[in-house]
Symmetry: C2
Subunit: 343 residues, 2 copies
DNA sequence: CAAAATCTTTCCAACGTTGTAATCTGCAGG
DNA sequence: CCTGCAGATTACAACGTTGGAAAGATTTTG
């Protein structure tokens, strides 16, 4: 049987409540009493029962992070950043994978697990703007990602349009003019794909170039294999291009591999830039230029906002929106000179 | 205020306990009563309070997975496999990152969070055999990894020696004889590094080749950057070799990049094989041959064993050891012909 | 048709903790 | 020496659920 407060109280010759008071740093405890209790806790190896505390106080100090897929490097790195931020503040994180499916996302959101956590960080993928109403759950929540804007909750996101525009300009500055928009979702307006395509268009427009629809390559799923497959089709079609704005790093890496197999040199024949700055981009051959979307800042801000909601510190505050800063990370895949040795 | 069983009971005109009985599928409930209760649950949107259930029943249906680092692809894929296996059985997973530090691992293992979970899957890195006694905690546990054997708990692992031997033989069969053992930890006997080095030696021995100590390259940490750095030093030293047995995929990918930068062709000049079969190996240039260590089987078995311990179904069973099967995955980096188009 | 056996539902207590309010201590002030 | 008051401690109830056993309802049996 586990040690409870009762045992500690007995050992320290005080009431159970005094033990509780010591543990929770209540005021008005005599120094000598506190000491006695702490000694007893130490001696018995007491550990609070978090279920009981959760029941009584309504707090579990657990938050939930809902993401599409942990195997996706972007989300693994996001999860790491969130867990680190949460851990600093004494919270644990439960990760739930939605697989990006709308049904599963709603199921999680309305499942009984929500009652076990103090709040949710929800990285949407399957839902869309019309579902904004469905995410109004009693549990405090902060939304991550690009699928829903101006919903009933706080929202932390990245500067998709601006960053994608900067990525495109990065290639334009290097004299490339026939740029693929790689990973588009044609009918989407506000998802990551829609916004990044918009950034691409703005950059072209600003440079006085026409947007050519055949250069926007639809790739529904954003894994390496999808990037590889899509690039194979592009090459087979004979489409002429000298640069690729890939909408995430995995797509870029898959595409890069296929281009190299086909004998194209990067960056000499085709320059390519990705999006997300996953660890792998620093070690590919060539290393991949990309956008650092401010993952750390996103995680820190999201956790901080969520905890404010949980504490009620932001009770009166209306739903907030926060956009993290981004950076263009220039590497070999867009180098002006042929690639040489790198980090 | 949230809906409780009391509200449901009232709505269905039964006692609270009957509601509980319905929810927990107790025998001997009249069909009509069950129906009435279910309707009330549905109508009110009742969700059980998991803290209360946890307190009363001693079960939380949460298990904890302790791993060194989620950003490491191997562990991200392991975590995914574990979460999937757990989810099938109605459990959620809390991931705790230890950073591989001994102190942090012990801290987690003896921290109050352990009281909130039913069991632990513990992927050791910082502890070692001498610590076997320290991991004897009251919470059911299954050990993963290679640092501790014959401890007081169940243990699920991979066939490190056999797999490493098979990897080495894979290169030997292709006529390579000057093989680096890349990622060794010289003074280690039973960690992954020690076991994989042992497999390497056995393969050499079986082939009648001498083990040459200068070909065992020490790399303490197993990230891409460490592999890159170590390979730079090898090349600078002028050491002659025609094959690399890398002790994990990240090391291999880092090393491969550096060799290519130096003008070495893979596999023509140097053949290389990794270990872990992370997703990335299918998309590198060239694709990387590797060992599939049976990650899925490891996750499934570990979760199953843990749940048996939690249920008490394995009460009398002494500590078990399980080794998952492995497979050599042959790709371009060890191809006999020069690389061509791949998947 | 009563008694026994079975099925179904309910009552009560308990899990370990914390909020509220009450009690008890010691000490200053009158 | 009593009153008042602040500081320190405690008693009690409650959070929402489930295990155990009692109670009530129904069916079977002799």
């Amino acid at each position: 049987m586990a040690i409870t407060m009762r045992d500690v109280a007995q050992a320290a010759d005080v009431s159970i409540k005094t033990v509780s008071n010591v543990i929770n740093d209540h005021p008005n405890i005599k120094a000598e009493t506190r000491e006695r209790v702490l000694v007893a806790i130490e001696k018995l190896g007491y550990q609070p029962n978090l279920s009981a505390r959760g029941l009584r106080s309504g707090r579990t100090d657990v938050i939930s992070l809902i993401i599409p897929d942990l195997k996706n490097a972007y989300f693994a790195e996001l999860a790491d950043a969130v867990m680190t931020a949460a851990s600093k503040r004494g919270k644990v994180v439960i990760i739930e994978q939605s697989g990006g499916s709308r049904a599963r996302e709603l199921e999680i959101l309305h499942g009984p697990r929500m009652r076990m956590v103090d709040g949710v960080l929800y990285s949407v993928l399957g839902l869309s703007q019309e579902d904004a109403g469905l995410i109004d759950i009693p549990t405090p929540m902060v939304l991550l990602g690009e699928r829903i804007f101006h919903g009933p909750t706080d929202h932390v996101t990245m500067q998709n349009i601006e960053a994608s525009q900067a990525a495109t300009e990065h290639l334009l500055q290097r004299g490339r003019t026939k740029l693929l928009a790689f990973g588009a979702h044609r009918n989407e307006v506000i998802g990551s794909a829609g916004l990044r395509l918009e950034g691409y268009r703005r950059a072209l427009q600003k440079a006085g170039l026409d947007y050519r629809d055949e250069l926007a390559i639809d790739v529904q799923s954003w894994h390496r294999s999808d990037g590889a497959q899509a690039m194979r089709e592009v090459l087979a079609s004979g489409l002429d291009f000298d640069g690729v704005v890939a909408f995430n790093d995995s797509l870029a890496l898959g595409a890069m591999r296929v281009m190299q197999d086909a004998g194209l040199r990067i960056p000499e024949d085709v320059a390519i830039i990705g999006f997300d700055d996953i660890d792998e981009t620093r070690y590919s051959l060539p290393t991949l230029s990309t956008i650092d979307p401010g993952r750390q800042e996103i995680a820190e801000t999201a956790v901080a906002m969520l905890l404010e909601r949980i504490d009620g510190a932001a009770e009166a505050t209306p739903a907030r929106e926060f956009e993290a800063g981004f950076k263009v990370v220039s590497r070999e895949s867009t180098a002006i000179q042929p690639a040489e040795d790198s980090a």
